[in-house]
C-alpha cells in the first residue's frame, strides 16, 4: 500500500535492492534544465531525508554546468534531480542548467553545444524537453539528429521524455486531423521514455499505460533498422489501430521503453508535493536505472552502454523478455474527433507506441545488458 510514488515504491516495483546502488568512481549521470528552472540543494537534501531511507544515496549534486540562479525552485528541476538520484542512487550527478542568458541564445542549442565542447561528459543524460515536429524546421531537426549521433559514438546515452499529449493532434484542414509527433522524442538516435501508472493507484501492482504517455511515428525520420521487426509485428497484430491517414507507419516509432509517470512525490521549495506526473517523471527514473547498469559494466571493465536502442530491441530475440515488464493494457490520448474519439494507440504484448517494450525489471535487465 502507498500514497503515491516515492523512491521506495519505484525501487520495489523495479526490483532494486538496497545493494543496487552505484559503486564505481567512473559512473555518472546528468539531467538538463532549460528556462530559468533551478533546483535547490536544500530541497534535494530534504527529499532524501524524507524518502531516501533504505538505500545508500548521495544528497548533493556533484557539478552544475551553467548558471544556477536563486529565487524559487522549479518543480521540473526538483523532480529530475530527486528521481535521477533515487534510481541512480550513489552515482555522481551533474545538472546542466541552460537558461539561455544571452538574448538570441536557444537554451536547447546551448545544451547541445556543451556536449560538443566537453571532453568529459556524464555517461547518461535525462532530458524532458520536446516540441511538435511540425513546428520545427527540417534543417534544425536533421542537424540536432547529427549531434545525437556525435554523442552516441562517444558512448553517451541520451534519454528523452516522450511527451504528455499521447499521440497528439493537429488539424490539417477543416475537420481533418492527424497525430502530432514530438521532437527530439522522434529522433532515431535517442532512447525515448513513455509513461505508465499502477493498475491499482494505491498498491505496488502491475502497470498499465498512462493515457498521457507520448508516442507515435515520426513524419521526419524514417524507421531505423533496429526497430523494424518489432514495429511491424505491432502493426500487423494490434487488434485495433487508428486509421492509417493519422500516422506515418514508416516513420521512426517511439517510445522505446517506459516507467511510472503518475502521482510522484516531489520536494520543491521545501514543501513535499504529491500528484506530480508526466513523462518528465519517468525519464529520470529510467536514466538512473541505466546509470546503475553502466556502473556495473564499468566495474567489470566493460564499456558503457552508449546508444541503447540497438541492444534494447535485440533483448527479446536473445531470450531476455523478462528484462522489461511488458505493459499490455490501456490506450493513450489523441484527437477528439468522431473518427478516433480521443483514442490514439493502445498498449499490446511486446513493443507498442504507448509504452515501448515496457518498464525495467532491474535484475533481469542488468543480466541482459551485462551479457
Amino acid at each position: 500500500f502507498h500514497l503515491g510514488v516515492t523512491p521506495a515504491v519505484l525501487r520495489k516495483r523495479y526490483n532494486l535492492t538496497e545493494a543496487d546502488v552505484g559503486g564505481s568512481p567512473n559512473s555518472s549521470q546528468a539531467c538538463a534544465q532549460f528556462l530559468e528552472q533551478y533546483f535547490h540543494p536544500a530541497d534535494l537534501s530534504e527529499f532524501m531525508h524524507l524518502f531516501g531511507g533504505g538505500f545508500p544515496h548521495l544528497s548533493s549534486v556533484d557539478q552544475v554546468v551553467g548558471h544556477q540562479g536563486g529565487g524559487k525552485a522549479g518543480l521540473e528541476a526538483s523532480l529530475d534531480v530527486e528521481y535521477l538520484m533515487s534510481a541512480g542512487a550513489n552515482i555522481s550527478t551533474w545538472v546542466f542548467s541552460n537558461a539561455g542568458r544571452h538574448e538570441g541564445q536557444e537554451p536547447f542549442l546551448a545544451w547541445l553545444l556543451e556536449l560538443s565542447n566537453r571532453s568529459s561528459l556524464p555517461w547518461v543524460h535525462s532530458v524532458s524537453y520536446g516540441d511538435d515536429e511540425d513546428s520545427l524546421s527540417a534543417a534544425y531537426m536533421q542537424r540536432v539528429n547529427v549531434e545525437f549521433q556525435k554523442a552516441a559514438v562517444r558512448g553517451v546515452t541520451i534519454l528523452f521524455a516522450s511527451g504528455d499529449s499521447g499521440a497528439g493532434c493537429r488539424t490539417v484542414q477543416r475537420g481533418k486531423h492527424v497525430f502530432r509527433p514530438s521532437f527530439p522524442a522522434s529522433s532515431p538516435y535517442v532512447t525515448t521514455v513513455g509513461g505508465t501508472s499502477f493498475q491499482h493507484p494505491f498498491l505496488v501492482s502491475v502497470e498499465v499505460s498512462d493515457y498521457i504517455s507520448g508516442g507515435g511515428f515520426s513524419n521526419v525520420f524514417p524507421m531505423p533498422e533496429y526497430q523494424t521487426s518489432a514495429v511491424k509485428w505491432f502493426l500487423s497484430t494490434a487488434p485495433k489501430l487508428p486509421p492509417s491517414s493519422y500516422f506515418n507507419a514508416s516513420g521512426r516509432a517511439y517510445p522505446d521503453l517506459a516507467a511510472l509517470s503518475d502521482n510522484y512525490w516531489v520536494v520543491s521549495n521545501r514543501i513535499p508535493l504529491p500528484w506530480v506526473s508526466g513523462t518528465s517523471a519517468s525519464t529520470p527514473v529510467v536514466a538512473g536505472i541505466l546509470a546503475l547498469i553502466n556502473d556495473r559494466r564499468l566495474q567489470r571493465g566493460l564499456p558503457p552502454l552508449g546508444f541503447l536502442n540497438p541492444a534494447l530491441y535485440r533483448l527479446q530475440d536473445q531470450g531476455h523478455g523478462a528484462a522489461l515488464f511488458d505493459v499490455t493494457s490501456g490506450c493513450h490520448l489523441s484527437c477528439l474527433d468522431a473518427i478516433v474519439e480521443g483514442q490514439g494507440f493502445c498498449a499490446a504484448p511486446s513493443w507498442d507506441p504507448v509504452t515501448g517494450w515496457g518498464t525495467p525489471n532491474f535484475p533481469e535487465l542488468l543480466r541482459a545488458l551485462m551479457d
Binding site: H102, G104, Q105, F108, L109, L113, S116, S119, D164, D262
Partner: protein, 177 residues
C-alpha cells in the same frame, strides 16, 4: 539568397508578448551550425559501435576523434569566417568539434548579415526577455554549402512543465460523440 529554415514556424507561445523592434545596437548572440564532413561515416559508426552484433561494439571515440571526423572543411571555415568578417563580426567562439560558431553582434549587424530577419523583443510573465525574428532569414547562396542553419532567430525557450494532476482528475471525462 537562400533560406535555410523556410519551414520553421514562428509562434509566440502563450504568456509572451511583443515589445516591438529592438534597437540596432541591441547585443545578440547567434549560433551558426557549420556543415560537417563525413556525416555518412558518422552514421555508419553509430551502428557499428552501438550494435551488440558488431565486432566494434563499445569501442567509443574521444571528443577529439569525433572532432577530427566531423569538423567542417577548411573551405567552410574560411568562407564563413570571411563572410562574418566582411560584416564586422569578430567576436566569435568555436566549439571543440569546430562545427558550431557562437557570435556576438548588434541587432543591426545581424539584420544585414541575415536578410529578412527583423529582431523584436518578447517578454513573458516572469519578465524573461528574448530577441527573436518573426520574419524568416536568408543567407547568400554561397553559404548553402557551408551552413546548416543559424540558431537564435525563431525558437522560443522551451516551456515544458511537469504535470500536476490529482487522482480524482486522472481519468479523462466521457467522450463527446
Amino acid at each position: 539568397l537562400w533560406a535555410p529554415e523556410p519551414d520553421q514556424l514562428f509562434r509566440v507561445p502563450e504568456g509572451w508578448r511583443s515589445e516591438g523592434r529592438v534597437a540596432p545596437s541591441h547585443p545578440l548572440g547567434l549560433t551558426f551550425a557549420l556543415r560537417q564532413r563525413n556525416r555518412d561515416r558518422l552514421e555508419a559508426l553509430v551502428a557499428e559501435l552501438s550494435s551488440p552484433r558488431s565486432t566494434h561494439y563499445g569501442r567509443f571515440l574521444s571528443l577529439a576523434e569525433v572532432g577530427a571526423l566531423v569538423a567542417p572543411s577548411l573551405e567552410t571555415l574560411d568562407v564563413v569566417g570571411a563572410w562574418l568578417e566582411e560584416h564586422g563580426v569578430s567576436e566569435c567562439q568555436v566549439v571543440a568539434t569546430m562545427d558550431f560558431l557562437q557570435c556576438q553582434m548588434p541587432a543591426g549587424t545581424a539584420e544585414r548579415l541575415l536578410p529578412g530577419a527583423r529582431f523584436h523583443r518578447f517578454v513573458n510573465e516572469e519578465q524573461r526577455s528574448v530577441a527573436l525574428s518573426p520574419t524568416p532569414y536568408s543567407l547568400s547562396k554561397e553559404m548553402q554549402e557551408h551552413v546548416d542553419f543559424v540558431g537564435g532567430l525563431h525558437r522560443f525557450p522551451p516551456e515544458k512543465r511537469a504535470l500536476v494532476r490529482s487522482w480524482a482528475a486522472k481519468e479523462p471525462g466521457p467522450r463527446s460523440t
